[in-house]
């Protein structure tokens, strides 16, 4: 049974207007479409972006289901316009072997809101001493290519070197959480006058910068691919810029919150502003924006980090690090980068869809005939005061409540079916049924697929 959808009159990121014909989960045509379809979505005034891809998400399943699950995190992603997320490996048990990454992937396929493309741990148990089953994960049905101990730094230089070398065997990339552990013992917020005044232990910029400087040199010496997670300081931007000019294979990401928020928010002792790496100075915010604009920083990644209220409604030094970010990411990028004139919408497609796919080693062809119909339809003229109603995940530790933000994800389409319609999540059963149809049609890889002998 064939199904067809016409997205009519959408504005493409380059500014032109176009119809998009979707047939059986794939984009059939982009341009003027006069075919009769089962369904028409009027996209007049809406921007059609290729589905957003988040290279840095915490889905918390298995092990921390009180904070988030693959289903609820996928829903948060869809609400924010994402169609692919890369969940980090700091689950319990840790995603350091084929079984766990395949479990995460299967849960994602069953939920059906987004593609869940797991990240594997670099070291067994995130302990930083022995390499995890890197090849086992690479060869699993999940076909892992990005490895990270995120939440912890691979601080042992020998282990980092071995990891970078080892993944050359299957074109993998090591995504480093750059945090020198000795320089950040007990650290609570960005080091500086405000931390000193508040009596919160400082988290110096050099704790991030020394690791990045070390790692780009190791990556250069072994010819391997390094990805720098959530870069947050002006000095880090300089180091990555230098490394790229030198031809080192390094890519970098910045989070939406490091594009907008600054350390002074900590004066409230409100732990919703406690995050790793910490919020930095205004100079750092301006530097990471400039780095994203000139391509030194390749992508925006959310570091969506859900925590239950009891881990945030408490003393600052007791509270957990992290903030949710999937539902607000595009609005923050629009406010900080598009409205400031530093990025065009075509650039937004680059930093939130095509480059994340490239770094994550996923095929990507955007809004082209033959590509999977994963499309985000956005009303860039909308403005709203961010509230708990904007959230769709399980946790509510957002730093943006009460802020007026631009942009609204109106519809999110994943593999040809809607996961968000008129700003509301489509219910889980409808989405799961649609997902099962795509699996049956062979459009979704990963389920019931033989392990390949890579």
């Amino acid at each position: 049974m064939s199904s067809s959808v016409l997205i009519s009159g959408a504005t493409i990121a380059d500014g032109t207007s176009s119809d998009i014909l979707v047939v059986d989960g794939l984009i059939a045509k982009v341009g003027k479409v006069s075919d009769k379809t089962d369904r028409v979505i009027d996209a007049t005034g809406l921007l059609a972006l290729p589905g957003l891809i988040d290279l840095h998400t915490h889905l918390r399943e298995p092990g921390f289901e009180q904070s988030e699950t693959v289903l609820t995190g996928s829903q948060a992603a869809a609400k924010g316009g994402f169609t692919t997320v890369f969940p980090m490996a700091n689950t319990s048990p840790v995603a350091d072997n084929a079984s766990v990454v395949e479990l995460e992937q299967s849960r994602g396929i069953e939920a059906g809101y987004v593609q869940v493309q797991p990240i594997g741990a670099v070291t067994a148990g995130l302990l930083g001493t022995h390499l995890a089953d890197l090849r086992g994960m690479a060869d699993s049905r999940a076909r892992v290519r990005v490895f990270s101990d995120d939440g912890k730094c691979v601080h042992d230089p020998l282990v980092m070197r071995r990891a970078l070398e080892y993944v050359l065997a299957f074109d993998g990339v090591i995504a480093q959480h750059a945090q020198e552990p000795r320089l950040t013992e007990q650290a609570q917020m960005n080091e500086g006058e405000i931390a000193s005044r508040l009596g919160l232990a400082g988290w110096p910029a050099i704790a991030e910068e020394t690791i990045i400087a070390r790692d780009v040199l190791i990556a250069e010496s072994v010819g391997a691919a390094l990805h720098v997670c959530h870069l947050s300081t002006a000095g880090s931007v300089d180091i990555v810029r230098w490394a790229k000019a030198r031809g080192i294979r390094v890519t970098a990401e910045v989070t939406p919150h490091h594009l907008l928020l600054t350390e002074d928010l900590a004066v409230s002792y409100d732990a919703r502003y406690k995050v790793n790496p910490p919020l930095r100075r205004q100079e750092d915010v301006l530097a990471v924006r400039a780095g994203l604009a000139d391509g030194t920083i390749d992508i925006v990644a959310t570091d969506h980090a859900p925590h239950p209220s009891e881990d945030k409604e408490c003393e600052w030094d007791v509270a957990a690090f992290g903030m949710v970010g999937l539902e607000s990411a595009l609005s923050i990028v629009q406010q900080t980068m598009v409205e400031s004139g530093q990025l065009s919408w075509a650039d937004v497609v680059r930093v939130m869809s095509s480059m994340p796919a490239r770094i994550g080693r996923l095929p990507w062809s955007g809004l082209a005939a033959g590509a999977p119909a994963s499309i985000t339809l956005v009303d860039p003229t909308a403005r709203s005061v961010f509230s708990v109603d904007h959230l769709a995940g399980k946790s509510q530790n957002s730093p943006y409540f009460g802020r007026e933000l631009p942009g609204r994800v109106v519809h999110t389409m994943f593999n040809g079916y809607l996961t968000v319609e008129n700003g509301q999540l489509v219910d889980a059963e409808t989405v799961a049924s649609a997902a099962r149809l795509r699996v049956a049609a062979g459009l979704v890889r990963g389920l019931n697929e033989e392990r390949h002998d890579g």
Binding site: R197, G199, E310, E313, V318
Partner: protein
């Protein structure tokens, strides 16, 4: 009127002087045969101590009892906290029991701020020391002690204008230093901090202080008061300085430094003292040492703070 006392940084000069003047009233009442005042009769105050403290807790308790308040002492040890109850749940429980004021000592910087700002409880909050943030009643009692010594009977309504105060020691981890820096500045004193570079907080250049690494050079200049801070031995283990001998030789108020000091320089220490380490016994026990005055004045200053925030008045009738 101040609804809470969380930080000396929040106090205006007028508020600070008013508190010192009320402290003077309390000191006068303390000289009477019957020391007890009825001001807080019927009020229940909880002393919420999440961190070990002897002198501060007892000082508050004496102050509360002199004002006729009913006092509940809560120590984190042996309470529901030891069973894992959250800070918020503990506070909400106290709210439901109907306390009228909270005095809180907590190892987490900002805990008293949360208590004052959140809707967990709606009563006056007094910070009795939080983490490495502030210890405002200590700074007030230090200012009171300096003012009383400097101006004697004519101290009332005065600040500390022109006073030169040197603070020596672990500025980085000291809540006493922070509260003193803000309050001394507000009251018109000039402050010099002296410490090894590793024990000075980043961003100090933005604070209203002069900074030096050289205690001898600073003490060679005229000054009115030297405040020695307690240095904890764990700082040595964490490599902030090489060993106790080297610290003491560089930054301690040793016998030799004390003998070079002019006899009218006031010596303060918030206690408890590490004798022979940051301060020699000769200095601690000298006639120019105000260490015991600080303890005695602590009760009067805490009475003044309790009276002001719980009754909402600034000047006694």
């Amino acid at each position: 009127m101040i609804p809470h006392l969380i930080s000396t940084r929040d106090l205006s000069r007028e508020q600070a002087i008013a508190l010192l003047d009320i402290s003077a009233d309390m000191a006068e009442s303390g000289a009477r045969e019957n020391k007890k005042l009825p001001a807080l009769r019927g009020k229940t105050i909880v002393n919420l101590f999440y961190e070990d403290s002897t002198r501060t807790r007892i000082s508050f308790e004496v102050a509360e009892k002199r004002l006729s308040a009913d006092v509940i002492n809560f120590s984190a040890k042996g309470s529901s906290v030891a069973k894992g109850e959250s800070f918020k749940d503990t506070i909400v429980t106290l709210r439901e029991m109907g306390v009228d004021g909270v005095v809180i000592r907590h190892p987490s910087s900002g805990a008293p701020h949360l208590l004052a700002e959140r809707d967990w409880i709606d009563v006056p909050v007094i910070n009795a020391g939080d983490g490495t943030h502030e210890h405002p009643t200590q700074a007030l009692l230090d200012a009171y002690t300096l003012r009383a010594k400097r101006w004697g009977d004519s101290a009332r309504s005065k600040g500390l204008d022109g006073l030169r105060v040197v603070i020596v020691g672990d500025i980085l981890h000291s809540r006493v230093a922070r509260s003193n820096i803000w309050l001394l500045h507000t009251l018109g004193a000039t402050v010099t901090v002296v410490a090894p570079p590793t024990l000075l907080p980043p961003g100090l250049s933005e604070w209203p202080v002069s900074v030096s690494y050289d205690l001898d050079a600073v003490l060679a200049q005229p000054c009115d008061a030297v405040m020695m801070l307690r240095v904890q031995s764990e700082r040595m283990r964490a490599a902030y300085f090489p060993n106790a001998h080297e610290y003491s030789a560089g930054w301690g108020l040793t016998l030799e430094r004390f003998h070079r000091l002019s006899p009218d320089v006031m010596i303060l220490h918030p206690g408890p003292m590490n004798r022979g380490f940051e301060i020699s016994s000769a200095a601690a026990d000298a006639t120019q040492s105000l260490v015991l005055d600080q303890v005695a004045n602590g009760v009067f200053v805490r009475m003044a703070v309790l009276y002001s925030v719980l009754t909402g008045t600034e000047v006694m009738s």
